[in-house]
Amino acid sequence: MEHESKDLISKYDIPVGHYKIVKTKQESIKIANEIGYPVAMKLMSPDIIHKTDAKVIKLNINSDRDLELAYEEIMANGKTYNPEAKIIGVNIQQMAEKGVAEIIIGSMRDVNFGPILMFGLGGIFVEIFKDVSYRVCPISEEEANRMIRSIKAFPLLNGYRGQPKGDINQLVKVILKCCTLLIDNPKIVELDLNPILIFENGKGVMVVDARIILKEEKV
C-alpha cells in the first residue's frame, strides 16, 4: 500500500509530503488542520488501484467545509466504482507547491545484476519519449550526477531559458538513498516514486506518490 511504501522511504530519509491515513470524517478535519490547508485527499483501498478513474482523489481542498464534502464524495465514488472494495481509510496529504518539474525514480530487479535504478522526467517524457536513464546499483555520487544529466530533457531541470533551476544536489542524494534502500531490501522487486516534485535550488524535492512491489512470499 501507498502509505506503507511511504513509511519505508521515510525511514531512508527520502522526503515525502506530510500525510496521514484517517478512518473518520472528524479525524480528517483534525489532521487537515494539523497539516495545514490546502490538502489533497485520496481513498486508500487495495482494490482500487486507478484512483483517477475511480474519482477517489481530490486536490486543493481549502477548508473544513470542502473537506467534509470531499470526504463524502470520495467514499460514495469508491462504493460506486467497486462495491466490494475493502476500504482502509482516507489519506490526507499536504498539497505540494508547484515544483520546477515532476520526475520519476523507478527500479526493477535484474536476475543477473540486482537492483537497477531508473530516472526520468515525469509525464510524457517517460511515456512517449522514453527519455530515461538507468544505472545498476550501487552507484557513486558522481555517477548519480551523470545519470541525471544524461536524459535529453535535463535542460528543463537546469534553468532552461530563464526558468528556475531545480535542486539537483538534493535529487542526487535521493537517488543514492534509493540505491541504499534497494540494496538493503532485496525483497523489493519494483519501486516507483512517481511523481517526485523537484523544487528550486535549495528547496529540495518531495515524493508525492510511492509504490513498492515486494517479491511474493512462497507459502
Binding site: D110, V111, F113, G114, I116, Y134, R135, V136, I139, S150
Partner: protein, 486 residues
C-alpha cells in the same frame, strides 16, 4: 594463487590428451587435434581411444590412466553420456584442466548431468572449460577449435559465451582483418569456470592489451561489473550483448541455458564502467584490433586523405554526426600541402587528391605534413593502389597483350613492389613517430598483398565506414580515460 596460474593448464599445456579423435578426419575430435598440430604446437598429443592403437600417426591409449606422462590438458569431443566416467579417470590420473566441447547438458535441460559433472570436477579439483563450448586459441601455437586458421600473435583476447562467435570470426580475421590475437576462450555452459574467472585471468595477462566479450548472461553480475570497472581503466573492454530481445533471449536460453538481462541494463553497465558496447561482431574485431595496434586519438580532430570525393564526404558526415570533427585546415597548413597535390585537388579537409598516380605523395609526403601538425589528432586514408591493382589492369584480351604500353604497365606492377613496401614501411614508422592513430581504408582485402603487409605490421586496413566507426569508438574510450584521469 593468481588466476593466470590457475589456468596454466589451459593456456600453456605441454601434453594434451584427446577423447574423440579417431582415424576419421571428419570427426570433431580429429579436427581439433589436427588444428592444434597445424598451429605449430610443440608439445605432445595423446589420443585416448577404446579400440585403436594408433590415431593419425600417434600412439593411442585405451585409458588415460595408462598414459605414462603427466597430462596437462584433456580435450573431450564425445557422446555426453560417456563424459562423467572419463572425467573420473582424468581425476584419478591427476588431470587438472579439461575442455569439454560436447553439448547435451544444461542447455538442453539436462541439469542432472551437468551437476554430476560439477560434482566430479570438484572432487578432483578439475577446472573445466565448457561443456558445450568451442574450445580455445592461445597464440602462437595453440588452436583447439574447429577452424583451421590460427591468427598471428597479438594483444587481442576474446571471451565468448557463444561458441560460434568465439571461433568462426577466425575466418574473417584470416581473410579480412588480419588481427593479432593473444587468447580466444569459449566458455560454453560455465560449469565451474566462467566469464568472470577468465576476465580476471586476462586482467593479469601481460600479453592481453584489449578484451572483447560476447555476452549472453553473467551469473555473477556484481563481480562482473566490479571487474569491468577496474580492468577497463587499463585495457579497453568491448562488449557485444546478445539476447536482448524476446526472441534473442529465448534463443540464448536454449543455447547456453542463460537468462539474459535487457539491453538497457547492459547499456547502463557500459555507461558506468566506460566499457564500449558495439552492435556487431565485425565492429568488435575492428575495434579490438585498433586498440591493440594503433595509439588512441588524444583529441577528436580527424584528417581525411582520400583518392575520391564520395568516401571523403561520407566519412566526414559519419565523423561529424558522431562526436568527431573534420576541421578546416589552417591557411598555412594548406599552403604546405599544396605543392604535393594535383591542381584539381582540394586541400581543405577532406584532402581529396581525386586521382593521383604519385603514391609517394599520397602515402608519405602528405600524411607526414598532416601528422606533424598540431591541427589533427588522427588520420584516415581512403584508397589504395597495390601491385595487384596494376597486375589486374593488364589482364586484357589477347589481341591487346603485345601492345607496348600494356607491357610497360605489367613490368611496372612487378617492379613497383619494393618501392611500395618502402612507402608502407614509412607509414608504419609514422605511427610510432607521431603517436597518432592511422587507419587505411579501401575495398581491398588480404588478397592484395599490401593489405596483409600493413595489417600484419599493425596498421588497420578496413572498409571506409568500418574505419570511421573504429576511430569514433577509440575517441569515446580516449575521452573516458581523460575523464577519469582528470
Amino acid at each position: 594463487m593468481a588466476k593466470l596460474d590457475e589456468f596454466n593448464g589451459f593456456f600453456n599445456p605441454k601434453i594434451v590428451a584427446f577423447y574423440g579423435a579417431s582415424n576419421m578426419l571428419q570427426k570433431f575430435g580429429s579436427i581439433h587435434l589436427t588444428n592444434l598440430l597445424s598451429a605449430g604446437f610443440q608439445g605432445k598429443v595423446i589420443p585416448i581411444h577404446p579400440k585403436e592403437d594408433e590415431i593419425l600417426g600417434f600412439k593411442a591409449y585405451k585409458n588415460i590412466k595408462d598414459v605414462p606422462d603427466h597430462v596437462d590438458l584433456v580435450v573431450m569431443a564425445i557422446n555426453p553420456n560417456l563424459i562423467i566416467n572419463f572425467l573420473e579417470d582424468c581425476g584419478h590420473k591427476g588431470v587438472k584442466h579439461v575442455i569439454i566441447l560436447s553439448g547435451g547438458f544444461l542447455e538442453v535441460g539436462n541439469k542432472e548431468a551437468q551437476n554430476k559433472m560439477k560434482e566430479v570436477a570438484e572432487k578432483y579439483k578439475i577446472k573445466i572449460m565448457g561443456p558445450n563450448c568451442s574450445g580455445e586459441v592461445v597464440t602462437p601455437s595453440i588452436n583447439i577449435t574447429h577452424v583451421p586458421w590460427p591468427p598471428r600473435k597479438g594483444g587481442v583476447s576474446i571471451i565468448s559465451q557463444s561458441g560460434t562467435y568465439a571461433v568462426q570470426p577466425l575466418i574473417a580475421i584470416n581473410t579480412k582483418i588480419g588481427m593479432g590475437v593473444s587468447k580466444i576462450i569459449s566458455v560454453g555452459n560455465e560449469v565451474n569456470t566462467d566469464l568472470v574467472d577468465y576476465l580476471e585471468a586476462l586482467e593479469e595477462d601481460d600479453e592481453t592489451t584489449s578484451i572483447g566479450i560476447y555476452f549472453e548472461a553473467v551469473r555473477r553480475g556484481k563481480e562482473f561489473i566490479e571487474l569491468v570497472n577496474r580492468i577497463n581503466k587499463k585495457k579497453p573492454i568491448v562488449i557485444i550483448p546478445i539476447g536482448q530481445t524476446e526472441a534473442g533471449s529465448r534463443s540464448a536460453k536454449s543455447h547456453t541455458a542463460a537468462i539474459t538481462s535487457p539491453g538497457y541494463v547492459i547499456d547502463s553497465i557500459c555507461e558506468q564502467t566506460g566499457a564500449i558496447r558495439v552492435r556487431n561482431s565485425i565492429d568488435m574485431l575492428n575495434l579490438l584490433n585498433a586498440f591493440d595496434s594503433i595509439p588512441l586519438p588524444k583529441g577528436n580532430r580527424v584528417a581525411i586523405l582520400t583518392l575520391g570525393g564520395g568516401p571523403g564526404t561520407l566519412m566526414s558526415d559519419l565523423f561529424e554526426s558522431n562526436g568527431m570533427k573534420v576541421p578546416l585546415l589552417s591557411k598555412d597548413l594548406q599552403e604546405e600541402l599544396k605543392p604535393w597535390m594535383p591542381d584539381t585537388a582540394s586541400t581543405i579537409n577532406p584532402i581529396d587528391l581525386t586521382y593521383s598516380d604519385d603514391m609517394q605523395n599520397f602515402l608519405n609526403v602528405l600524411p607526414e605534413i598532416l601528422l606533424k601538425s598540431d591541427e589533427i589528432d588522427a588520420l584516415i586514408f581512403y584508397g589504395l593502389m597495390g601491385t595487384e591493382y596494376f597486375k589486374n589492369l593488364v589482364d586484357v584480351p589477347d589481341y591487346m597483350k603485345d601492345h607496348d604500353s600494356i607491357i610497360t604497365m605489367k613490368n611496372f606492377g612487378e617492379m613497383m613492389e619494393d618501392f611500395f613496401i618502402a612507402l608502407f614501411d614509412e607509414i608504419i614508422e609514422f605511427k610510432e613517430k607521431y603517436k597518432k592513430p592511422i587507419i587505411l581504408t579501401c575495398y581491398n582485402t588480404r588478397e592484395e598483398k599490401f593489405v596483409a603487409y600493413l595489417q600484419d605490421r599493425g596498421i588497420p586496413v578496413y572498409y571506409p565506414e568500418e574505419g570511421v566507426w573504429t576511430l569514433i569508438r577509440m575517441w569515446q574510450y580516449s575521452k573516458f580515460l581523460q575523464s577519469i584521469n582528470k
